[in-house]
């Protein structure tokens, strides 16, 4: 006896097996990211004023990546439709574009966005020393406007030896524009385009420092959630790309010749997964880049 309904529908459910399978899997995925996002909410609610950073991420790049994912989602359905219409060449091209989109997304994230963060340096000032660094923080100015205070001075670390050498008593940082010119109203809201650190060097005594790290997951619960969620999402993208590559290779051409509907079903299933990954990103993007 063979396993029925691998390709055609079971009459009473009107579905073939893999279709149900993938939807169940996606259901569990919803719960997985649900767990992560509820953690995000929980931690964000817990964070005291000023401790949830804003505008640290590169919005245009994020936007571009969003667009790329959306585009790839479109090409996947098109690829599937092409198969339905039995146009293998079209399918092949759409699939190729999808794969390339996926890869670009990953490259941008891993080779550009993340490293850019890793080399950024953030210094949290002790509560009772904040006044001392008023010129970098401009908290009075913020207080007047009723905005949350700034507790962190960020930029590019000049004297890297400061990280491990105890004799070096202060950090020298090429300040971010925000800290270079804190009272400038333009700085109240995060910039749209990423602005590199200025030439202006800020000096911060180690005594006054609460914590100082690069923008790594350990930097703050914000970056912890950011790297964890985008990392997990990236893993999903990678998985999708790999499967797509398999279905784009000649192997699947053989399957197509044997039974086109079967290939179409597979593409549909992976497509569903891909759309879901896209869908997750649709929430990740505003939550981390914009808000």
């Amino acid at each position: 006896m063979e396993i029925p309904y691998t390709i055609s529908n079971r009459p009473d459910t009107g579905l073939w097996n893999a279709k149900i399978g993938i939807w169940l899997f996606l259901a569990s995925e919803v719960m997985l990211f649900g767990g992560l996002f509820s953690a995000y909410v929980f931690l964000r609610l817990d964070s005291p004023p000023g401790l949830w950073p804003h505008g640290l991420l590169n919005v245009p790049v994020g936007t571009m990546n969003t667009a790329i994912l959306i585009a790839s989602s479109v090409t996947v359905v098109l690829a599937w439709a092409a198969l339905k219409m039995r146009k293998y060449r079209a399918y092949w091209w759409y699939m190729l574009i999808t794969i390339l989109c996926g890869i670009t997304f990953l490259v941008v994230k891993l080779a550009y966005e993340w490293p850019q963060k890793f080399e950024h340096f953030g210094i949290y000032i002790k509560q009772d020393r904040l006044e001392k660094y008023e010129p970098y923080l401009g908290n009075k100015h913020l207080a007047e406007k009723g905005l949350p205070p700034r507790l962190e001075i960020s930029g590019h670390l000049h004297n890297h030896e400061a990280l491990h050498d105890a004799n070096v008593k202060e950090y020298e940082v090429a300040l971010d524009p925000v800290n270079a010119d804190p009272t400038n109203p333009a700085m109240d809201r995060p910039h749209f385009f990423y602005v590199p650190p200025t030439e202006k060097i800020g000096k911060i005594d180690k005594e006054d420092v609460e914590r100082a790290t690069m923008f790594l997951p350990t930097h703050s619960t914000y970056f912890a959630t950011y790297f964890t969620i985008t990392g997990l999402h990236g893993a999903h993208v990678l998985g999708g790309v790999l499967v797509f590559i398999y279905m784009w290779l000649p192997v699947s051409k053989k399957l197509y010749q044997r039974n086109p509907e079967h290939l179409a079903n597979r593409v549909e299933v992976c497509g569903l997964f891909w759309h879901f990954v896209d869908l997750v990103w649709i929430f990740v993007f505003p939550l981390f880049y914009l808000l």
Partner: protein
Amino acid sequence: MNNPPDISQDPAEHEEYAHNVQKHVKGYLMVGGALLVCTGITVALSYVDFGSRKANIIVAMLVATFKAGLVGAIFMHLAAEKKLIYRVLIFTGFFVTVLFWLTYFAWYDPVAR
């Protein structure tokens, strides 16, 4: 909008069938466009000050939900799916809401004096 029907084994019907799918393709492209526009809108809105950050978050989430809806309904064919799948998703949706809401609620209502 409906999904393209599965292709029939009978080649004779193939012509109008392919045509049928073609119609849907246009729809997919339009939705893709809509999504891109919405992305632009989300970004733009995040620079508009809606009074409080809360307000901004709510607005952004509304747009995001709308986009998610599009992807789900059209790309993932949820606009016209089988009952079974709806059932599964309804429960999942419910439980995920429970997870969000109750954890939030528990955070919101601690022992206090």
